[in-house]
Every structure is written in C-alpha cells, then in structure tokens.
C-alpha cells in the first residue's frame, strides 16, 4: 500500500473540512495511506510572500524538513500550499546559500532541510500515481449524465513552464470521465478565481467569480469540481453576493473532485463531507440515487 506524508493546510481543518474528509476516504479506498504531517504550520499562502520572502520560504522549509523525516513524498490538497512547497523546493535547490541561511533558522526547531522529499498535489496523485484505469476499476456507481465543469484554477499548474500541459491540461477531465461523469467544455478552467483578492480587492474578486460562474452556466454544468479549498469557498460561498452584484441567479454547486470520486466509489455522502455546502449538489447525489436508487447510501 502506497504511503504519502499528508499536508492538509489551514483551510482543510475547518472551512474545507469536506475536502479533508473526502480526500482521506477516497485515498483509503484506493489503497493509499495518507499520514498527516505532525505539527505542520501554515504554508504562508500568498500573503506571506507580500511581506517577507525569506520568512515565507522558511515557513515552507519547516514543513518540508519535518516531512523528510517521515517520508519521501508529501502531498498537499490545497493548490496554494502545493505551489508554495513545490517552488520553495525548486528555489532552494537552485540557491544553496539561501538553504544554509534557512537551515540555521530551522535549528531553533531542531530541524534541517535537505530537499529529499518530493512535492505532489493531491490531484496529481489521482491522475498520475493511481491513474485513470485503476480508478475506473474502483467505480461502483458511475455518475452517468452528471455534467461537470472540471476547474483547475491557477496554482496546480502555474507557474510551471512546460507549456502544452500548462495551457491545455486534460488530466482533470480524464478523472471525471473515469467516474462516468461528463466533463463539459469549460474554457475558463484555468482562469483565476481571484481567491487571494477576495479580501483585499473585493470588486475584482466578484467579477472574476462572475466570469467563471457565467462560463460554467453557459456550458450547462450541473456542478463545478475543484481541487483547491480557496476556489471552492470563493465560487460557492460568494455566489449570493455575486448574484446581488450582477443581478444574476447563479446556483451552481461547487464540490471537491474527491467528493465526486467518493460518490462514484459508493462512499456515503456524509462521510464525504456533503451537507456542509451552501448550495447542495443534490443533482450530483441524485445522479447516483436515480440511476441506482441508492437511498440507503444517501441516508446513511
């Protein structure tokens, strides 16, 4: 059974609890062990890099250093955490002086960073390590007819530079097809949701959310699937405000890809953290209900 060091990140503790739950449930079903990193600290998000780059690297380095002790691969479900870890590792590998400097600081916590641990995003684990075929084999209730807008967001891929993949990835759609859902043509799948602007620049954030929702609605998506807590909170919790702002009537549920995968594998919705959202993804759950009349599954 494959093991990963699991770095949930602040959001998954509460505001994105359902992501946390579904991640653990699904991976377990797929024979993967996620061991939560002991005493991890915040990755610094974007805000930290506004204030002090060096400090931001140190925060990330602490987590990586602790991860090195317990494993070889650390997996982050949050895109921001992932990006910070991935690129901190990259920068440190290019800049030994910086590494030394940071290691001095880490001494204070009896840690040292050597860069041995590989950084992965949870969705990469599904797309690459597990793979579509393996996933298919575990699907019990294919989400037939469920139209999903697979939303990558920014930081899973950018600022990586291998263009073909960064500009037009397919792996998210492939995962969705694997569980029987129908990925819709969602041209904004890589456009930013404005998560980091929500507080600092409200109007900008709203218009970005609006564009995404508009595009999803235009593509007649039943549900938007995300792989990042910020995107989820942004797109879901602020639909009300956006509607007020733009006089629209969006009501598109936004769920985590792990929740959908979970459903398809017959994991009870409760265990996947359903019920915590503002806009119930009823259609998604009904998809299985109608097709397989799985009331008991739903009402468990």
């Amino acid at each position: 059974m494959k093991e990963y060091v699991y770095f949930p990140g602040c959001s998954l503790e509460k505001i994105a609890l359902s992501y946390h739950l579904s991640a653990l449930e699904t991976t377990q079903k797929l024979g993967i062990k996620l061991t939560e990193l002991e005493d991890w600290n915040c990755c610094g998000a974007t805000a930290y890099f506004h204030v002090d780059e060096l400090l931001a690297y140190t925060l990330v380095a602490r987590n990586l250093a602790m991860a090195e002790k317990v494993g070889t691969e650390v997996v982050a479900p949050c895109s921001a955490c992932y990006k910070n870890m991935y690129f901190t590792k990259l920068h440190l590998s290019e800049d030994p002086d910086l590494t030394d400097h940071i290691n001095e600081a880490l001494q204070e916590d009896n840690l040292s960073y050597s860069g041995t641990v590989a950084v992965k995003h949870l969705i990469e684990v599904f797309a690459n390590d597990i793979g579509v075929e393996e996933l298919k084999s575990k699907v019990i209730y294919p989400l037939n007819g469920l139209k999903v807008a697979a939303y990558y967001g920014c930081q899973i891929l950018r600022p990586k530079k291998d263009h073909e993949d960064v500009e037009q990835p397919q792996f998210f759609e492939d995962l969705m097809s694997a569980i029987g859902a129908t990925p819709v043509d969602f041209p904004l799948k890589l456009t930013c949701c404005g998560g980091s602007l929500l507080i600092s620049s409200r109007p900008a954030a709203y218009s970005m959310i609006y564009n995404l929702l508009y595009s999803a609605q235009r593509a007649q998506a039943d549900v938007i699937a995300t792989a990042c807590p910020l995107c989820q909170v942004n797109l879901e919790c602020y639909q009300q405000q956006v509607n007020q702002e733009f006089g629209t009537h969006f009501s598109i549920p936004v769920v985590y890809f792990t929740q959908l995968i979970g459903l398809s594998m017959g994991i009870p919705p409760k265990k996947l953290g359903f019920g915590k959202e503002f806009l119930s993804p009823k259609k998604a759950i009904d998809a299985i209900k109608n097709i397989h009349s799985q009331e008991e599954v739903i009402t468990q």
Binding site: Y48, L55, S196, S201, S207
Partner: protein
C-alpha cells in the same frame, strides 16, 4: 563603483532566482496585460508598470494599485516571451512598499497581509475570524452584513473553528521566525 542602483535594479534585486535584471529585457508586447484577469481594476497594466520601473518613475509606480491587485495566478509569468517572472515582480513591489510603508492610500491588501502574517506568527496557523475585521472596516456597511451572513452560515455549517488553532512547538517556531527577521518588524 558605489553608484546608486536604478529603481529597475532595486526591484530586480528583490526577484528571487533571477540573474541580472530581467525587467530590462521587456519588449513591451503586452502578453502579461493581455493575459491578466484583473487588469481592468488596475490603475496601470502590468506591462506599463514594467516600463515605468525601467523609466525610473518610482513614485508613480508605488502610487498605483496594480501590484496589490495581482491575484498571483501566474498566467503572465508562464506566457512572458522574455521569460520575466512578472507575478514575482509584483510580489517584489508589494514587499518594497510594505517595507518603505509607502503604498497607495485606502488599500486593504497591505493591512490584510500584515494581519495574516501576525496571525501566523502568533499561532503558526491561519484563522479566518481574526482576518475578518481588517476589511469589514474598509468596506461599506452592506458588505459588512453580507460578510457577517456568510460568516454565520459558515459557522452553522461548522466550517469556522471556534478557537484559533495553534501548533505545538510554538516557542521553537517563534524563535525560528525571530532568527529570520526581527519580530518587531511585524508584531
């Protein structure tokens, strides 16, 4: 040669993992601004900011909101035909203004970032409710309610922790931070 570095070089020096001054290689093609999802809210497009930096128009640059509106989606960085890490440059400008305390009036970004950082320095993890006030005062009353509404919803859904989370080895953690910068800087 102890000549004062140009503004352009100052900013370039704040870019991580960049050799020389990439900003000066900008051909002003506009790919960055064309790709930017926030550009219409910016006083100046990112391309212009780079031009202004290279022209040494320091004050005009610092006056803009452009870099505070950067959503760090990195679309510009990925596409820039001159290989300039524009998003990183925006970060650099944020840091620059934070240190020099000369950012545009009425921006929430800086205050927010500071609170955020403080929270983390205190507890090692972020805690939404603490972040809330920073902008509630900055926005109108209507915002306040809608935000409050959201907050309560989140509470009800059990999506906001009642107590701020803390990491265990907080003392070490703080000393570690102290080792990097004088806490006075933020605390």
């Amino acid at each position: 040669m102890a000549t004062k570095p140009t503004f352009s070089n100052e900013v370039a020096n704040l870019l991580h993992a960049a050799e020389g001054n990439p900003l000066e290689t900008c051909i002003q093609c506009g790919t960055c601004s064309g790709s930017c999802p926030v550009v219409k809210y910016m006083d100046q497009t990112p391309r212009r900011i780079i031009a202004m930096i290279n022209a040494g128009l320091k004050d005009d640059v610092l006056k803009t909101n452009t870099f505070w509106y950067c959503a760090s989606c990195y679309q510009c960085t990925v596409r820039c035909p001159s290989g300039i890490d524009i998003a990183e440059a925006m970060y650099a400008l944020k840091r620059y203004t934070m240190w020099k305390n000369q950012y545009k009036e009425g921006l929430i970004g800086p205050t927010f970032s500071e609170t955020f950082v403080k929270t983390i320095v205190r507890s090692g993890r972020s805690y939404e409710p603490l972040l809330a006030p920073t902008y509630i005062f900055s926005y109108g009353i209507r915002e306040f309610f809608s935000e409050a509404l959201n907050a309560t919803n989140l509470m009800l859904k059990g999506r906001i922790p009642i107590l701020p989370p803390r990491i265990k080895r907080l003392e070490n953690f703080r000393r570690m931070i102290a080792h990097i910068i004088p806490i006075g800087g933020i605390e």
